[in-house]
């Protein structure tokens, strides 16, 4: 920490107060236009029926009632929740293992790190398309396709997301692992702690901040997943129900919102907007809960 000179506090503070708004202004303005205003407008629109956002009719809570009557939304909610939790566990366990292995001083660690990180640089749509070809190439041996069975759609998306995100989380874990102080590890060694004991009682509590970040990222990523979902299965296979309604078995929340917004009539746009607001509350709520939960387990050095 740099120490500031605090002589003559009032002479320093005055111009700061005066100029503060001048310097904050542009950023504040940009933030308001780019985030705050669209956010408020989005919430307002969820109470409206509209085709163009400049031409709306207020309908009250009608859209929200529709949302909870919509079976496809509830289906995609549970499906997304299952997906997010599964991917959270698998991604974090695997990326921690990889990070742990790559901080043991193996030869070529840097090369491995680079290679593991690279999938993260490919866009979701391209990834989804490529993986759909790979999966189908394999599944066709058993006369099926990723678009024909929901379980393959589910695990396919898990594999895809793992492949894409493990490298990213690995980088965060590596940074965390490297900051565990050598003194502490040495002390543990001298005290005769086994490798397992060192890992669980010394290392993991000390990388808790990384775990907090990584679980937060993978949880919200899992919930917000859109392009990979669209490109890999786009919700297929559908269950065609008696009477012609369908359940898109592998449709996640974000895709469900998108399909509601663009796939149906103007009256559904307000419903989609309401879904988006519910979606926001869900993701924000879960994220905060998870943060509070893992924060408690962080230790200060």
């Amino acid at each position: 920490m740099r120490k500031k000179k605090v002589s003559g506090g009032s002479t320093l503070r005055k111009p700061l107060v005066k100029w503060g708004w001048f310097f904050l202004g542009p950023v504040l303005l940009a933030f308001s236009i780019g985030f705050v205003w669209p956010f408020i407008q989005g919430i307002y629109l969820s109470f409206c029926e509209f085709r163009l956002i400049s031409d709306t009719t207020f309908v009250g809570f009608e859209n929200y009632i529709e949302v909870f009557k919509d079976g496809s939304f509830l289906h995609s909610f549970w499906y997304t929740a299952l997906f997010a939790i599964t991917s959270l566990v698998i991604i974090n366990v695997l990326s921690f293992m990889v990070a742990y292995a790559l901080t043991q001083g193996i030869k070529g660690s840097n090369l491995f790190r680079t290679v593991f990180f690279m999938p993260n640089l490919i866009g979701g749509i391209v990834l989804g398309y490529i993986w759909s070809m790979i999966f189908d190439g394999i599944l066709s041996k058993w006369d099926t396709s990723i678009l024909l069975e929901s379980k393959w759609g589910f695990w396919g998306l898990i594999i895809l997301l793992c492949w894409q995100q493990i490298g990213y989380m690995m980088i965060i874990y590596i940074a965390g692992l490297q900051s565990v102080s050598e003194d502490m590890l040495e002390a543990a060694r001298i005290d005769g702690a086994s490798q397992g004991q060192t890992l669980f009682n010394v290392i993991i509590p000390n990388v808790m901040p990384s775990i907090t970040i990584c679980t937060f990222l993978s949880l919200t990523n899992g919930f917000k997943l859109f392009d990979q979902n669209l490109a890999l299965t786009a919700g297929q296979p559908y269950i065609i129900q008696e009477g012609g309604t369908v359940i898109k078995t592998t449709e996640m929340l974000a895709l469900n919102i998108y399909n509601t917004f663009y796939g149906q009539s103007a009256s559904a746009q307000g419903v989609a907007q309401a879904k988006a607001v519910v979606f926001f509350i869900l993701v924000a709520g879960l994220g905060l809960m998870q943060l509070a939960f893992t924060r408690k387990r962080e230790v200060q050095q």
């Binding site: 542009p26 950023v27 303005l29 940009a30 933030f31 236009i33 780019g34 085709r51 163009l52 956002i53 400049s54 759909s132 070809m133 189908d136 066709s140 006369d143 099926t144 396709s145 990723i146 678009l147 024909l148 786009a234 919700g235 297929q236 296979p237 559908y238 065609i240 129900q241 008696e242 009477g243 012609g244 309604t245 369908v246 898109k248 399909n259 663009y262 796939g263 149906q264 009539s265 103007a266 009256s267 559904a268």
Partner: protein
């Protein structure tokens, strides 16, 4: 260093604020085009017009499959499109309040047929066809002859079935197969869920005296006929039916290189296909309906111009002038006809498209045109997606139970989507 960095970040944030502020000009045209494949030519035409009259014509093309999204976003802006596309009854419902009534306007007077225009329920002429297309089964006559048949053998479903099955059974020996791949991915599935499905809608609407508006529900009377042709198509093809779901085959290329004798598609394929298959022609969807020897091709359009009624009067007039120029100016209409195939206007250039020529020959021979009843599909994207999902299941395992699912998506799905679209 840190300060410089935050300054840069601040500047970047602020830049975003000023982007997108542009000027407006008096009486200009802004055409929101929905066919990426015609973008290049439209840009040329716009430039020609600017050179000739000095009026600015801006052509923006929405990326493939995103026309609706783009239109929604663009119409919300201050410089909204003055000329846009309202291509089917669904779109008429959504956009009629933004469309100028074109009845008896200068452009309407140039038309040589009313067949491709769209009206709303109050009888306003909402949009006006600027070209039409046809679809059916593209055939390579040379391969048919190589297989020992004549084109005249195919006059109904029986004939088509005989030829296709015979070719498929001898594919190894002949070196080519009957149908090219019928992939079910987004780039290809519309050939079946949008086009081939039309045979069911068309015959059903014909029985009902022709649909004037989207019916609340359909009967599925001709599902058996759809199944006839669809089965023939997937089971006598270059690829096995259970490999169609994710696609990845190149049907056009299979046809162009002589690996397949039949190719389900439309008139827009003519320029590509005729590069190698010079005498390619098109036959109707023969599907086992009585009297189908008199069937013609499926003709219709989704290319319908609408003028933005919320645009300024000067812009509206400039747009109208531009449209009239497009269909009367010799050089411009030549260019446009060469890309669009044909334009139904009195003074437009003649068509050079072989498939459209086949379409008019059928009409001249007294065959009935199969209208695009398909344009009535309610919530078209969602409806077709469900149909694709059901067909995928059927393709991999052709049981009666799986076909029943296809029927449910096809027939009951219509009513479901109609309800969703008309809430």
């Amino acid at each position: 260093m840190k300060r410089a960095l935050s300054l840069i970040l601040t500047l970047v944030l602020c830049l975003g604020l000023f982007a997108g502020c542009g000027g407006t000009e008096k009486g200009s045209v802004y055409w929101l085009n929905f066919k990426p494949e015609s973008d290049e030519v439209l840009q040329e035409v716009a430039k020609m017009y600017k050179e000739e009259t000095g009026v600015e014509v801006k052509v923006v093309t929405a990326a493939s499959g995103t026309y609706n999204q783009t239109l929604l976003a663009e119409m919300d802006k201050k410089n909204a499109p003055t000329l846009f596309v309202i291509g089917n009854q669904n779109a008429v419902k959504d956009w009629k309040d933004y469309a100028l009534n074109l009845k008896d306007t200068a452009i309407a007077k140039e038309l040589n047929t009313d067949a491709y225009n769209l009206y709303d329920e109050d009888g306003n002429l909402v949009s006006i066809g600027y070209c039409y297309e046809c679809y059916g089964i593209i055939v390579n006559p040379k391969l048919i002859e190589e297989a020992g048949f004549k084109m005249d053998d195919i006059k109904n479903f029986e004939g088509l079935k005989k030829v296709a099955e015979s070719i498929h059974s001898r594919a190894a020996e002949l070196g080519f197969d009957a149908f090219s791949a019928s992939d079910m991915d987004d780039s290809s599935s519309w050939r079946f869920t949008g086009h081939m499905a039309n045979l069911e809608y068309y015959y059903e609407s014909k029985d009902a005296g022709g649909w004037k508006a989207c019916p609340e529900s359909i009967e599925g009377t001709y599902m058996e006929n759809f199944k006839n042709l669809y089965d023939l198509c997937i089971n006598n093809s270059t690829v096995a039916p259970n490999t169609l779901a994710t696609g990845g085959h190149d049907a056009q290329n299979e046809f162009k290189t002589g690996k397949a004798a039949f190719y389900v598609n439309g008139s827009w394929e003519y320029s590509a296909v005729s590069e190698t298959v010079k005498d390619a022609t098109m036959i109707p969807y023969y599907c086992g309906v009585e009297g189908e020897e008199k069937a013609g091709l499926n003709c219709g359009t989704e290319n319908c111009w609408a003028i933005n009624s919320k645009a300024s009067e000067a812009d509206q007039k400039a747009t109208m002038d531009f449209m009239v120029w497009c269909v009367t100016n010799e050089k411009a209409s030549r260019k446009l006809v060469d890309t669009f195939g044909v334009m139904p206007y009195k003074n437009a250039a003649e068509s050079t498209n072989g498939f459209l020529a086949a379409a008019s020959k059928y009409t001249a021979d007294g065959c009935y045109v199969m209208d695009w009843a398909t344009n009535y599909q309610p919530n078209v994207d969602e409806y077709r997606k469900a149909l694709v999902a059901a067909l995928n299941t059927y393709n991999s395992d052709q049981t009666a139970a799986n076909w029943e699912k296809v029927e449910t998506a096809f027939v009951d799905g219509w009513a479901v989507q109609y309800k969703a679209a008309n809430k």
